[in-house]
Amino acid sequence: MTPDQILEQCRDLSSQPLGAVAERWKATHPGGRVVAAYPVWAPAEIIHAAGMLPLALLGGGTSVELTHADARFQSFVCSVAKSSLELGFQGIVKGVDGFVFSNICDVARNLSSIWKRNFPDAFIDYLHLPQNSTSPGVPIYAANELRRLATAFEQAFGLNVTEPALAKSIEIYNALRARLRALYAFRIAEPQKLSTPELYVALRAATCVPPEEAIGWLDALLAGLPLRDARPRDRLRVVVEGAFCEQPPLGLLEVLEEAGCYVVEDDLLLGWRWFTSDVATDGDPFDRLGAAYVNQAVPSSTRHEGREHRSTGLIEKVRRSKAQAVIFTPAKFCEPALFDYVLMKQGLERAGIPHMIVEFEEKMWTFERTRNEIETFVESMLFD
């Protein structure tokens, strides 16, 4: 298949309702179970090692009208929390047997228990992922938290997570993440051959299928992309930062590039690319995965990293991708992104890196104002 054909399939796959994705997999895996993870990170390896299909619960995007969830959550709460809950009320996640939430923010925390109250038959687990990154007890704690999740799966579904199975799943996800890292590296090198909306749909589609399947077509994509014929344009190379949880509409990603940018780095679907390098597979795999969460994590607004300043990871990302500027894209009402914006922008200013901010909501459908803002920013940089 050509890259265009693969990407068309990805676009189709990533636009399907989560419940339909789950039911389709179950049709070929009788008795199988499906567990979806709310952003940002969850150990898909453990879900996979239990023989289940890991999926991503990413809200309703532009596909659902809120008819129940906005009576549960107030107007000042982010869209992704409300539309995710709405998927439950409207039966759109029917076929998904369980959901994993974690302590990324106060809203996600409350959503977890509200989901459980409203849908008592669903399996719900809330992971407390450590915010202390330096104390000696932290990796041990993280590993135990992952063991607790595995035990909860066993109790709920009768599915055991053995150490060999988990080690194997870690290997498979290492392979998947390696492909994703390669795609990101390719975009840095030749952004004219892989647009950000394309990269995004490929990434999102990878969250809708078993990792073994995604690896197959990601390999084909990586082989085909260099053969594309595209001429580099005079555009501003930018890093997009802040859209790690609520998903920006594709239209926004398109506008970013149409307005004169090459997005060469971003934090979209960050949890599915969480580790900076392969997770070790020797020794106890729970210990390995727990330690990797603490010591090999990408910089994220949802995790405190005591060993470096909040802006360090972003500046490093700018340098590595040879970007010229940063476009902050926090979702409306997203406290982690909005708080980090301040420390990050101060760090960028100290480093002499230009930046701008564009808030979004998943339901955003008109982009003209954003296009204007970005065009002005790009022009001010290119013609400076």
């Binding site: 906005d70 009576a71 549960r72 959550f73 107030q74 000042f76 709460v77 929390a81 302590n103 990324i104 923010c105 106060d106 809203v107 925390r109 409350n110 959503l111 977890s112 228990s113 509200i114 459980k116 109250r117 409203n118 687990d125 809330y126 992971l127 407390h128 450590p130 915010q131 202390n132 990154s133 330096t134 104390s135 000696p136 007890g137 932290v138 041990i140 704690y141 135990n144 938290e145 607790r148 405190h304 005591g306 300043h309 909040r310 926090p330 409306k332 009402f333 406290e335 982690p336 909005l338 708080f339 980090d340 914006y341 301040v342 420390l343 922008k345 101060q346």
Partner: protein, 436 residues
């Protein structure tokens, strides 16, 4: 027509005593830099203030500073300063007021509020705490210690593993403080401090329990603020323990005399959520005129839930501090476990209604309170009012709207009360004029 409800203008020993103790503490804070006294910033909820005291570090609470500025109508200029520096209008205004205080020249070397020597983030469920203290440490240059406390996520917690995880971090914190102060940690001194804590906790719990009386001797939402300083900020001191001895004696006397904060207690309400500090008095008046008294509240227990019997234990000093941080405070529990807490309040304190004050700043408290209303109205049949404003940002306080909703709610409540009374007497509903 029913007689208008008036406040008893109660300004008893509790209020005065609290004011004096808190002023003394603020005075010590303002002199700390000049006196070379190390200070430690820490958060209210599920705090380990006893560790700082035992390590001879003077605790400071940015939340208290923020609320004091709000109640004195000084918060808005500080919030605006922070927004000019890049903070969003959607960020927690407590944080913005605190950062704004620094930007405005009110915090830092030689300023009325010192920089903390150490910033201890007791991360107990509130993710904004993590951000707030990252920012505070960044601007002050102080050492940040991130004390990770696992959220209460399964039944039967806290587990021994979680307790030991927190204890391990407490030991690190102690070592860090020893390095700052140059003073050796003394476990027996900590035990002594915890004995004071337990005594204060007992007194606070007893005070809150006295609000089961009809009428309640004080408003457990609006008046409880007088006790929240001593229980959360000064806990562990002899003065705080003695404060609650005085408080309990005074409240017991009021119960014996059947005196409450209003001339008449017409409605007993449980209140959920923090108050709008910039309009504290106005907001209170909206309820007082209906004779509505808060007999229990969740916010008053935000630092620690002492009502169900937990006490710090000097025999197990570090373990009991860890247990309190893990389980015995409001913020490290799920919102639905708060439903159960409120349900107990409604039942055991014999409340007529639940009032939810939903605030934009604190999503930990507020995100999902629509679901809470749904649970109490549909599943339990508890009359519930949900109103929105903010605890720090006066721009979100719309008094006319609030008054309309509160008046409509209590009119309906009064009507129901009259109808029920009439039904009990076997007569028809009386004329509406009797309902005020």
């Amino acid at each position: 027509m029913a007689a208008p409800v008036t406040e008893r203008q109660y300004q008893g020993k509790v209020h005065e005593h609290s004011r004096r103790l808190m002023s003394d503490w603020m005075g010590r804070l303002s002199r700390a830099e000049a006196e070379g006294q190390p200070t430690g910033a820490i958060m209210i909820s599920g705090n380990c203030v006893e560790i700082l005291l035992a390590c001879h570090v003077l605790p400071m609470f940015p939340e208290v500073t923020a609320l004091q500025n709000a109640i004195r109508h000084k918060s808005l200029p500080l919030i605006l300063k922070a927004e000019q520096a890049g903070y969003s209008s959607d960020n927690c205004a407590y944080v913005k007021a605190d950062i704004g205080l620094f930007l405005d020249g009110g915090m830092g070397p030689g300023k009325p509020m010192p920089f903390p020597t150490i910033t201890v983030c007791n991360y107990v469920g509130c993710n904004v705490y993590v951000k707030w203290f990252e920012h505070l440490a960044d601007l002050s240059g102080s050492k940040l210690f991130m004390l990770d406390v696992p959220f209460a996520r399964t039944a039967g917690e806290p587990t021994q593993a979680d307790v030991q995880y927190v204890v391990g971090q407490l030991k690190e914190l102690i070592a860090l403080c020893e390095g700052i102060t140059g003073k050796k940690f003394d476990i027996d001194y900590l035990r002594e401090i915890l004995a004071h804590s337990a005594r204060a906790e007992e007194g606070y719990a007893r005070s809150k329990a006295l609000c089961k009386a009809h009428p309640a001797p004080f408003d457990a939402y609006f008046d409880a603020i007088n006790m929240m300083g001593p229980i959360n900020v000064l806990r562990g001191t002899k003065e705080a323990a003695e404060f609650f001895d005085v408080a309990v004696a005074e409240f017991e006397e009021l119960v014996a005399q059947k005196l409450g904060p209003l001339s008449e207690e017409r409605f007993r309400m449980v209140v959920e959520g923090p108050p709008p500090y910039p309009y504290y008095r106005n907001f209170r008046n909206l309820f007082a005129k209906w004779g509505a008294v808060g007999v229990a509240s969740t916010y008053s227990m935000v630092g620690g839930i002492w009502e169900w019997g937990f006490r710090h234990d000097p025999r197990r000093p570090l373990e009991s501090i860890a247990e309190q941080m893990l389980r015995e405070n409001l913020t490290n529990r799920s919102i639905t476990s708060r439903y159960q807490q409120i349900k107990r309040y409604v039942e055991e304190w014999e409340a007529d209604a639940l009032v939810i004050h939903s605030i934009k700043s604190c999503r930990l408290f507020s995100a999902g309170q629509g679901d809470m209303r749904d649970y109490f109205t549909r599943e339990l049949g508890v009359l519930t009012l949900l109103v929105e404003s903010d605890l720090e940002d006066p721009r979100y306080y719309a008094e006319a709207q609030l008054r309309n909703r509160i008046d409509a709610f209590f009119e309906a409540l009064e009507h129901k009360k009259v109808v029920r009374a009439a039904e009990r007497q076997g007569a028809g509903a009386p004329a509406l004029e009797a309902t005020r």
